[in-house]
Amino acid sequence: MRVRDVQHPMLPQATEEELSRQRAVVSLRKLLNARVRSQNVRRFHEEGAAAFAERNSRQPQSPDDIQAALFESMGYRMWSAANRSAQEMIWMSVGEPIFRDRDRMQAAARALAEAPDRKGSLHLDPDYDPSPEIAGTDVHLQPGGYGRDDGPDDIVAGAFYETGGNVFSFGQGAGKGDSKAGVIFRLLDEEFPDFVPGRILDLGCSAGAASCAYADRYPEAEVHALDIGAGMLRYAHARAEALGVAVHFHQMDAADLRFPEASFDLIVSHNMLHEIGAEKRRRAMAEALRVVRPGGLVIFQDVDTRFAPTEVHRVEKNWDTAFNGEIFWQVYNEADLVADMRAAGFAETGLREHNVSAVSNINRWYVISGRKPVDGTPTA
């Protein structure tokens, strides 16, 4: 099942003019990435480091020094300003058709969610206050953020995430055939060929694209998915129903799972680790280990910025922290995730980090996986 550029009734019916704007933003971001951002490390070495040394009478050494040195370069500052503006225009280009077509989209979602032949389910928790450390920020500048909920039928957060995510990803070079879930399917085929999960849990599912891909890939499995925002989850549920797959969506915190111990065979997350702080990440890992069955797998997939070849590359990748609402981006980049998994109780045996290629482009992804011992005994 494709996860990007999928057609369903909750997508805004964008006009050709609106689609032209989205294509223009994709093209602008491609240009900025390929021809402008790609020069940032050179700018550091040729301009920034020397200017920093002259201003401070020492060479840039710490991450903060490197960041300051990058900003000594006019080319870097101009790229940063243009990239911020392009990121804002992603949301302008998809937001106009969403708000223009909102009533129809909400009605379509409601009809699918209430259809007698619906396959999945939606479980919202009115007592749950979406995690402030995530909901309080417009992550990647998405207006209203992941926790946005404008009312009983609201689906705006999900519509923003899917449509803006497409514009963002295509601007990063991802193709329509790209699939983060597909990366995990390939990993399972290569390293766990006999593993067939009966119950799957997708942590931080956002608009549910990967959740649907798991339900499609494993039609006999019971697939559950969770995220923090009601608007996101209403959209995800209706989207899954439109695509004809059964997914059970829950408004829940990954760090506080309301599932019994040993109740899932496969627990996954896609791009969740870089959206949460260190403490929540550690609790989410421990919770995943608690609810996965002995012999089951826990797999966290995320962005590849941890593989930066030098400290300058790593700091350059931290741009999103200050300028793109990705407040935990640097925390994620610099975390010892193996140590966190070990502290959560995962045994060293079966704990692995992977640097994997994307399904359909030159991008790469970070994956860390752990398997619960068959005897169920966590090993500290």
């Binding site: 294509r23 900003f71 302008m92 969403i98 708000f99 417009d138």
Partner: protein, 102 residues
């Protein structure tokens, strides 16, 4: 169905937090942002023009010069005015951004 203008205004007003600036001069960065938004608008307009030129050339066989010189009637002028105001909101969005005191 919400109007384009209301839709654009709703997106602008949805932004939260404080805007981070990269240039020493905020005014200069806002002008850069406006220029980039105009780049997107120009791309969209070019697409429309290209589409029209191809359609009309195929369907009517008129010269492009004759089509371009045809005056707009009152309804068309009203439609273009709404489109102009919507475009201005998109391009000048940063001046109204609540994250920047707009």
């Amino acid at each position: 169905m919400t109007s384009r203008i209301d839709a654009i205004a709703a997106v602008i007003q949805s932004g939260r937090g404080t805007r981070a600036y990269s240039l020493d001069n905020r005014e200069a960065e806002q002008v850069l942002s406006i220029a980039l938004a105009l780049l997107v608008e120009l791309a969209a307009s070019n697409d429309r023009i290209d589409r029209l030129e191809r359609e009309i050339a195929t369907l009517k066989g008129q010269s492009l010069d004759a089509l371009r010189e045809a005056p707009l009637d009152a309804d068309a002028q009203k439609e273009r005015q709404e489109a102009l105001e919507a475009m201005q909101l998109r391009v000048l969005r940063i001046l109204m951004d609540p994250r920047d005191g707009g």
